[in-house]
Amino acid sequence: MIEISHVNKWYSPTFQVLTDCTTNVTKGEVVVVCGPSGSGKSTLIKCVNALEPFQSGDILVDGTKVNDPKTDLPKLRSRVGMVFQHFELFPHLKIIDNLCLAQEKVLGRGHDKAQAKGMQLLERVGLKEQAQKFPAQLSGGQQQRVAIARALAMDPIVMLFDEPTSALDPEMVSEVLDVMVDLAREGMTMMVVTHEMGFARKVANRVIFMDRGEIVEDAAKDDFFGKPRSDRAQKFLSKILSH
């Protein structure tokens, strides 16, 4: 579903953020990307739907080359759901309108159809009652669940999560993770940048560990948690799992 091969990215000639990253995500797979901050994991996931450009290498999403200038990027992006660390709901639109905007303007769905789809997804994330409210009137956890619903409204073939729980108060993390776990169990293809190792243990198929712009470890979940091969991954795991 996602094929990343030999991707390099520089912010300046001397500052390389991604070094020869190669991996893939197959259909129905849940891949967790972790690593210390500044390791390039958010940058890598943003390269997948071309929110960040990269200088060499290739990324294919469902067979379409992301870095091909001829690719219809808006169309490709509309099939790739993305959830951000800071939710990024549109503050001037009601919750339901946040869910309908791209359905109507990008997919060309009729208003009624988009509304019905939106309400159905809000019900799924447990926020049907909030449909007529504005984002600023919701808690962080609720906003992130709306953001997930907004991405799902586009019927994505794959979902990207960029640290979806990092900006949340601790008591709101689980309500968001619950939605993501359900999604994973339904067979959604997911690439998730997160520090939530509990989530990774529960639903991930594979774990990718990144450090200083490199993919240091790319292993099945049990291998990664059981016997990480690299020192850096071991150190990282011992730090975040010691509490």
Binding site: K46, N49, L51, P74, K75, L76, R77, S78, R79, V80, M82, F84, Q85, H86, E88, L89, F90, P91, H92, L101, A102, K105, V106, L107, K133, F134, P135, A136, Q137, R150, A151, M154
Partner: protein, 243 residues
């Protein structure tokens, strides 16, 4: 000071035979309002386009926006009006220059366009600041949903940016109205111009300019009140100062 106050002067006939002196001032007020209205429309439209260009991910567009703003905001308004009115017709091909000079209401069109362009540079800077003040993720979220750049601005960035800059835009609107007074120098008989001719015909300088002052204050009070209502009308529940 030896001055004969005569507040009754407003109801005496003016020497042009167009009614009373008050009628003279009011006709000036109407011209001020017409000039300001057209100038503000020009300032808002061109200012918005240039302001957006300054935030586009295109070097060419940024450069054009930069050059436009610096050109129109770094020259005194008076000099700009003289350039449009006296210099432009001379440097154009002869026929075009002649056509310009013989244009009916030339001072009106020159003033509206001149003040409009001058103010558009200021609107552009305000709008650029408004767009830049939005979280970077807003643009990303719009892009990730598959919205095109135009759609992203239309449905996501501009609705928020304009809300944020409404208070400074009110100031720019008031400045537009006040700046039309400069048009007296190219012979436009707007409010200040009519107050000046009333002074010359009647020698009642204090009465004339007291009346002009009050009329300017009244007009601007109406604008300020209207903009307040607009601010309240578009306020977003729960957001910043919203209820």
């Amino acid at each position: 000071m030896n001055y004969n106050w005569n507040w009754g002067i407003f109801f005496q006939p003016n020497p042009m035979g167009t009614g009373t002196y008050l009628d003279m001032l009011l006709s000036g007020l109407v011209l001020t309002l017409k000039t300001a209205a057209l100038a503000w429309v020009i300032a808002l439209i061109t200012g918005s386009i240039v302001g957006v260009m300054r935030t586009l991910p295109s070097k060419g567009a940024n450069w054009f926006g930069f050059a436009y703003v610096e050109f129109f905001r770094n020259m005194p308004l008076l000099v700009q009006l003289f350039l449009w009115f006296f210099v432009l017709p001379e440097i154009l091909p002869k026929a075009a220059g002649l056509w310009l000079k013989q244009l009916p209401n030339a001072p009106f069109w020159t003033a509206a366009i001149g003040v409009g362009f001058f103010m558009s540079a200021r609107v552009a800077v305000q709008l650029q600041a408004g767009i830049s003040s939005l979280p970077r993720g807003q643009r990303m979220a719009a892009t990730a949903l598959g919205l095109t750049t135009v759609q992203g601005y239309r449905y996501v960035l501009l609705p928020m940016a304009f809300r944020i800059i409404l208070p400074p835009l009110t100031s720019e609107f008031l400045n537009t109205i006040k700046n039309t007074a400069v048009a007296i120098t190219i012979g436009l008989l707007e409010l200040t111009g009519q107050a000046r001719s009333m002074q010359e015909f009647s020698f009642q300088v204090f009465e004339a300019f007291t009346a002009a002052t009050i009329l300017y204050l009244l007009v601007n009070a109406v604008v300020v009140t209207a903009m307040r209502f607009l601010e309240r009308w578009v306020a977003i529940p729960g957001y910043i100062t919203g209820k």
